[in-house]
């Protein structure tokens, strides 16, 4: 049963190994010379003001909630994508109705200005 997941496993191993290798090889190769400018966010350019742990604008939250709703939509479309060939045009019609109702919500949110940056 697990053999079918071999590509996924190779992918996972590569995803873990690549950043690790990049960091370790970089650490081994680069000279380590300390300079105060190296600790700044941008070594050249405008000096950073304030901390990076500041609060984000609450406007992001609405975008995040809308993202989660359309994320749920993706989960419902996933089985259709897997069974796409077997379901044929019947499945396409179903998905179009499903998406059509949600597009109404999207258009409404757009018209309402929910996605605008006020």
């Amino acid at each position: 049963m697990l053999e079918g997941y071999l590509p996924l496993f190779v992918f996972l191993v590569l995803c873990i190994a690549f950043p690790l290798a990049a960091l370790l090889v970089g650490k081994a190769l680069r000279p380590s010379v300390f300079a105060p400018a190296k600790l700044e966010s941008y070594e050249c350019g405008i000096e950073a003001v304030g901390g990076a742990r500041g609060r984000y604008s609450v406007r992001f939250y609405l975008v995040a909630i809308l993202f989660v709703i359309f994320d749920v939509e993706t989960v419902f479309l996933f089985p259709w994508a897997v069974r796409y060939k077997q379901l044929g045009w019947f499945g396409v019609a179903e998905a179009l109705v499903f998406l059509g109702i949600l597009v109404v919500g999207y258009v409404w949110a757009y018209k309402k200005g929910a996605l605008e940056w006020v």
């Binding site: 997941y5 984000y56 989660v68 993706t74 989960v75 419902f76 089985p79 499903f98 919500g105």
Partner: protein
Amino acid sequence: MTLEAFFFYAFTTLALGGATLAITRRSAVHAAISLMVSLLGVAGLYLLLNAEFLFVSQIILYIGGILLLFLFVIMLVNLDAGRGLRQFHQRWPLGAAVTAIAGVAFAILWSRAKLPPSQTMPDVGNVELVADTLLQDYLVPFEVVSLLLLVAVVGSVLLARKRA
């Protein structure tokens, strides 16, 4: 050790280790990232149980969506003030005792339980079964779900913009 057992223990380590880190980290962002590791381990366990649809939903919804909301909430509020605080009620012996009693009770139940033999899985995959059930047998409820999501869009926009 079979391949399944190896992956079972690997995913269990991820799930338990991530959960332990999530409740012990002082920085809320670190705790949220640890929770992500834990959820990833649980997703792997779903995969070992042949529940591919749950695996995908766990990754798309919990790791992709809900944890993103967690991180947004953490970044919306200022948690730096709480970083220096320590828990002042010394109740951890009570907690440890309750955990120990629950663990012993669970072990006794586990040793006495008669578990049914594991069933062989059908050849057709879990996602395909979900697709056939959802898109053929339960066609109308499937379409009604989109109405539910529409209500969620309208509700969240109205609630969020009420004071704007």
